[in-house]
Assembly symmetry: C2
Homo-oligomer: 226 residues x 2
DNA sequence: ACGCCAAAACTTGTATACTAGTCAACCTGA
DNA sequence: TCAGGTTGACTAGTATACAAGTTTTGGCGT
């Protein structure tokens, strides 16, 4: 995952962070679960210190909620936080596609095209997992095409907040086809240097999660705040 | 300053963080300065532990550069990091003004108007410090007007990267007037629900730093990476 | 004088002990 | 039976000791 900034060396903290991150985003650790520094330290075979630092990082990503002297929880879903995260992602990605449409970085279009090809494959075979991975990569490539690879780190951090929620909803073949069509349209607009069109499609693309989130809110309210 | 997420209690770490943050952004601690956990701990009268956590936070904001087993530096300026930070701010603030222009939060316009009034006062009296503070507040109010107060936290984090650089350049009365005029224009466009115009002015507003940064790069290259 | 090597004086990473605050269960009294 | 207070078992925050790695420095040999 390597969310760490400039990992000049892999520390225990990094390993613990990655392990917990995975488990939280995959919902192996459910929202609201109490999680203790001591317990994690014991179970992973480290001391409290690196666990503590990993906790701090995860809390900064709004994945843990540290209540001093009380307990630390896997942060419950929050409509507010989710809305903020989605806003941030939308804002950044809009500017990304605008700049990518204006002056795409040389070579980027080729990579995007080949990603599209792989996506088509995944759609045809109905391989949702592969499509999910390719989706991740596509948006990353888009940032690179805009000359702002660092932007993807922020997008990714905000995605996490939403991704762990979407684990609760199945990706149907139809959804996959729709998302794929969006990607194609975005790339086409970008290659036409049509920033406005790219913007428009991207907005629609990201808003497709609206009903999904609403649905999960009604079916899994126990995992939400309050 | 209170950059901490949900400060339910003020800890030593918080105090140390705030202290260092202030000193770094004000350039009391120059880029490239070596800074040691032990030294800071001794000088502030704490143990290494909370200092260490404060270091971690500052490193996440790209204000410190921790080189394991080697040393920790006040992070030198980096054109790359500055460009990324400015991109992020631009992206977020563009969407902010768009949404504020579309459906401003009730009551927000009034606050913005009164901020403008105070800014005019500062411009007339030539009080650059007051104007700087009001500028900070204006952009914060804009986020509130868009219904996304959390967005300002991100903007603020990215501003820090640039602000400590701009300490090196004097704010002339002419600059102040220009920035003020921009603010007025943004608010007017917003009140007219003219998102495109607001966007346009904002882009120009934020790009006014271009020559300032270029100038500092030539005059203070020693503070930059490499 | 110069180059190399070794040791000492740093650095941050990790482990552990201790402090202080919070909560829940249980006991005591009515 | 129930209300209230005390106690103990948690929690995270802090201090300190130790480990592991890097840099600097100084001395030795050439």
């Amino acid at each position: 995952m390597a969310l760490s900034n400039v990992a000049e060396r892999t520390t225990s903290t990094d390993l613990i962070f990655d392990s917990l991150y995975e488990r939280i985003v995959s919902l192996e650790l459910l929202p609201g679960t109490k999680i203790s520094e001591t317990e994690v330290a014991k179970s992973l075979g480290y001391s409290r210190q690196p666990v503590r630092e990993a906790f701090t990082r995860l809390a900064n990503l709004n994945l843990l909620l540290i209540r001093p002297q009380r307990a630390t929880l896997v942060r419950p879903f929050s409509l507010e936080l989710i809305a903020d995260a989605r806003f941030m992602r939308l804002a950044i990605e809009l500017e990304v596609v605008r700049q990518a449409a204006a002056i795409p970085v040389p070579g980027a279009v080729k990579k995007l095209r080949s990603s599209i090809k792989a996506q088509r494959e995944a759609v045809n075979t109905g391989d949702t997992q592969a499509f999910h991975d390719l989706d991740y990569e596509f948006h990353k490539l888009m940032c690179e095409a805009a000359g702002r690879p660092a932007a993807f780190q922020i997008i990714s951090e905000n995605k996490a907040q939403v991704d762990r929620l979407c684990v609760l909803s199945l990706t149907s073949p139809e959804t996959m086809e729709t998302l794929f069509a969006d990607h194609v349209a975005i790339l086409e607009a970008m290659m036409d240097h049509n920033a406005l069109r790219a913007e428009e499609v991207l907005r629609q693309h990201l808003s497709r999660l609206d009903p999904v989130i609403d649905a999960i809110y009604t079916t899994h309210r126990a995992y939400f705040e309050h």
